[in-house]
């Protein structure tokens, strides 16, 4: 390796250096974190179970790393601090709503401080499989106060892009059955007592969540992606939009 002289890079080897973004927090942020130093990019994929989030994220990671970008993935209920306990408590269905909500907030904050912020500082592209919007939407469907939630999640940095994979509840049912032959208790909102029938409850609950997402969209301005299409079609759109983000557009 020569020193003191710049290496000439052929264009096919050139890795696009992302344009810096103007970073800010939604609210108070995190004590003693300098927002200016969060040089990486934060890309969020939102959507219900069966909307294709994990497939799309896996493909984005493939593609981004192929392009020379370092990536890291985060998601809900994956923190070292509380994920096990949260899972346990949820299985017993013994938490009341404020407790459950704060438990999830703790899980999010732990990953935020131990993964998201350090990774952004190190210039990584962080791919979040769901973010504060799902957490807020779930609670809002359960009647919790929006202002209370906004205050708590004021700790979150504003992402560079949020893609909401919008899939109709009927299509979601089909995809969930194709995958697991079952609907998840929580994803069906069974705790809400909308219907004793799991299928009915799932459709009603997902419809309600989508309504809240539309409302949140007005505030948070995320990109709604039509997720009823093929994996490939959705992926093309996400890649195109992600390229724009990296180019600072």
């Amino acid at each position: 390796m020569e020193t003191g002289r710049a290496v000439r890079i052929k264009s096919k080897n050139r890795v696009v250096v992302p344009r810096p973004s103007r970073r800010r927090f939604y609210g108070h942020g995190i004590p003693r974190v300098d927002v200016e130093k969060l040089a990486g990019k934060l890309i969020v994929v939102e959507g219900a179970d069966g909307s294709g989030r994990s497939t799309q994220i896996a493909r984005l990671v493939e593609w981004l790393e192929g392009c020379g970008h370092a990536t890291v993935q985060v998601g809900l209920k994956r923190s070292t601090l509380v994920s096990e306990e949260l899972e346990q408590a949820q299985n017993g269905n013994i938490l009341s709503r404020t407790t459950l909500s704060l438990f999830y907030a703790t899980d999010f904050a732990d990953q935020l401080e131990n993964i998201i912020l350090p990774a952004l500082k190190a210039g990584f592209i962080v791919l979040a499989d769901r973010y504060i919007y799902t957490l807020m939407a779930r609670d809002m469907v359960r009647g919790m106060d929006e202002a209370w939630l906004k205050n708590i999640y004021g700790i979150a940095p504003v992402p560079d892009a949020v893609f909401y994979l919008n899939v109709s509840p009927e299509e979601l049912v089909q995809r969930n059955f194709a995958k697991n032959a079952a609907l998840d208790y929580w994803e069906s909102g069974m705790d809400l007592g909308l219907s004793r029938d799991l299928f009915d409850s799932f459709v009603k609950y997902q419809t309600a969540v989508q309504k809240v997402f539309k409302r949140l969209q007005a505030t948070y301005g995320f990109t709604i992606v039509n997720g009823n299409r093929s994996v490939e079609a959705v992926n093309q759109e996400l890649k195109k939009k992600t390229s724009s983000v990296l180019a600072g557009r």
Binding site: P31, T80, A89, L95, T98, F103, I152
Partner: protein, 248 residues
Amino acid sequence: MLKTFAELKFPGRLIAVEGLDGSGKSTQIYLLKRWLQVQGLKVYFSEWNSSELVKAATSKGKKRELLTPTTFSLIHATDFADRYERHLAPLLRAGYLVLCDRYIFTAFARDVVRGCPHEWVRGIYDFAALPDLTFFFKADLEISLQRILDGRPQLKYFEAGLDLRLSTDPYESFRIFQGQILEQYLALSTEFNFLVVDANRLVEAQQSVVRELIAQRIDLAQFKRNESHGVAEPAIRNSLWKQAEPYE
């Protein structure tokens, strides 16, 4: 929320005690509980950071020093919410006298000292009503420190506030940390009308003041237990003497 349970028309009443580690407040609330039980009243006692559900996560976080000011604050709020929704609020609806060893003011003081924004912390606890009476056990900083440090040569990471990098010496760090918490308490005392008890006095002298103030402000006869309902816990427990410990 900024309303007391009485203002919200709950039939029960909540009495909270606050103060620094080593101020003697746990002894005082224990004696208070005994006094109320002996009178045959419906009493429930709840301690800060005691929810079974959240305990495993909190102690893991503390042992591995995983907690940041934000997660520290949120995990204690989770613990509080669990106790609030599961025990405190329903019991107050059922007309109980609920005694709390530490309440939301502990978070207001400590989390802010740890660097969390004041409005953020207040906002989180907005779902909780205010106590009907809050006793603040005000001891000289040196006396509280001595009570803790006498019995416990080993201070743990978070209880000493070592995460705040106030000093590398745990004892010095603990002193500074407690001093800052005391300042917060004094401000809260005015804002929330704490009943201030001089915690430098003898146990009995303080207890007399507490009992007198409660008898003046709460019509205790309303809280009589229906004898046919039985007693939830044994009336006599030998748990009064305990070396003062810092809360985590």
